[in-house]
Symmetry: C2
Subunit: 203 residues, 2 copies
DNA sequence: GACTATACGGAGTCTCGACTTCGGATATCA
DNA sequence: TGATATCCGAAGTCGAGACTCCGTATAGTC
């Protein structure tokens, strides 16, 4: 309900099926390409890997920014759905920490996602910001539930938790950080989020 | 002893004082410009703000990458010196946590620094990698000392600690994360680094 | 099978930014 | 002060990548 409903409403005829298939393939490829190379990857490469001409890409997405936005919206929506699904999980603590881990692992192969997690919140266009906020709210719900269950300390709030989520995701997105180190770093963060602790390192 | 010693050795005459002044000013401006806008900021803007022609920038630094590298080397060296100075501080725990906080705050106004903290380690040229490793080693020394003093748990190692340092620095570097949230996020990380805790959120 | 709106791809244009050229200025030294 | 090696800036070149034009192909409809 976020994308791909353009001509359906408004009177004009529906999109041709080949055009719809191309649009979908372009989105898939763009997610991979921008995921691997960041947003500096070229539109031409997306077209080539999708097996279409560059004009076709620009016909479906008027600017490169629009394409990137569409990719991000889809990704954010998917992550939000996964987060919301976890709200039904039996153990709130497991749900929260698992999703944290999942998002970081997911971002590890998607540079642009990690970057965008941050950027989309502030500026950006309405749709992308909305998708980003949707994800943020879902994380907030997981957090609150985990706190009520006593799995996360009560004195932390969404902004700093989300900041840590973004920070670890963005860093995991780049090469050079192997999986084991990432897991150990997350363990430290999770320990910091756990209840029953005193204040260290205060200046 | 890392930069600015070019013509001094080797027989040729020393650099003219106006040239040396320009070189220094270019480095200062470049640090600001790349700090604020990331490495995508243009060389021409550096030249303009430094009050010189663009050719002068390229005369001193043969490529944009070389300029960026010079900026980073200088910055890394400076941070390393600060870290090493803290090794004489009375309290090892305070030294470690203060430097962590300092580095994150420093990176908050220097996008390129945060990015480079990560990148320089892996590839990059010899000089930049060396400077980066120097900083990493200095952080390692602070960490070990803090652990011996019982201010940081014994079962964490430099890779994951450095990863967290990089992660929080990079994220702090972008807009939209206010100072208070940053401080609260760091508190969580520091709590995770503190000794005497059980394992939460394990899956 | 023919007709047509829709979609396609290749070959452009246009802008931007890294880097060079070269004639003119100036610090340095005698 | 005069000679000159060094340094400077304005105006280029060059390549890359975002975006457009237009003749051709094809899905959808009869």
């Amino acid at each position: 309900m976020s994308t791909s409903d353009r001509r359906q409403t408004g009177g004009g005829r529906a999109r041709r099926v080949d055009a719809e298939a191309n649009r979908s393939r372009i989105l898939d490829v763009a997610e991979q390409v921008f995921g691997a190379g960041g947003e500096s990857a070229s539109t031409e490469e997306v077209a080539r890997l999708a097996g279409v001409g560059i004009a076709t890409v620009f016909r479906h997405f008027p600017t490169k920014a629009a394409l990137l936005r569409a990719v991000l919206v889809r990704r954010f929506d998917r992550l939000r759905e996964q987060a919301e699904a976890l709200l039904d999980t039996a153990d709130p603590g497991t749900a929260f920490f698992d999703f944290f881990r999942h998002l970081v692992a997911d971002a590890a192969t998607k540079i642009a996602i990690g970057e965008a997690l941050l950027d989309a919140g502030g500026d950006s266009d309405g749709e992308a910001a909305e998708a980003s906020n949707g994800l943020r709210r879902a994380v907030g719900a997981l957090l609150r539930r985990a706190q009520q269950a006593g799995a996360v300390r009560d004195d932390v709030e969404l902004p700093e938790v989300y900041a840590l989520l973004v920070a670890t995701s963005r860093t995991a997105a780049h090469a050079g950080l192997d999986e084991e180190v990432r897991a150990r770093a997350l363990t430290i963060v999770f320990d910091g989020l756990a209840p029953h602790r005193h204040q260290p390192g205060a200046g």
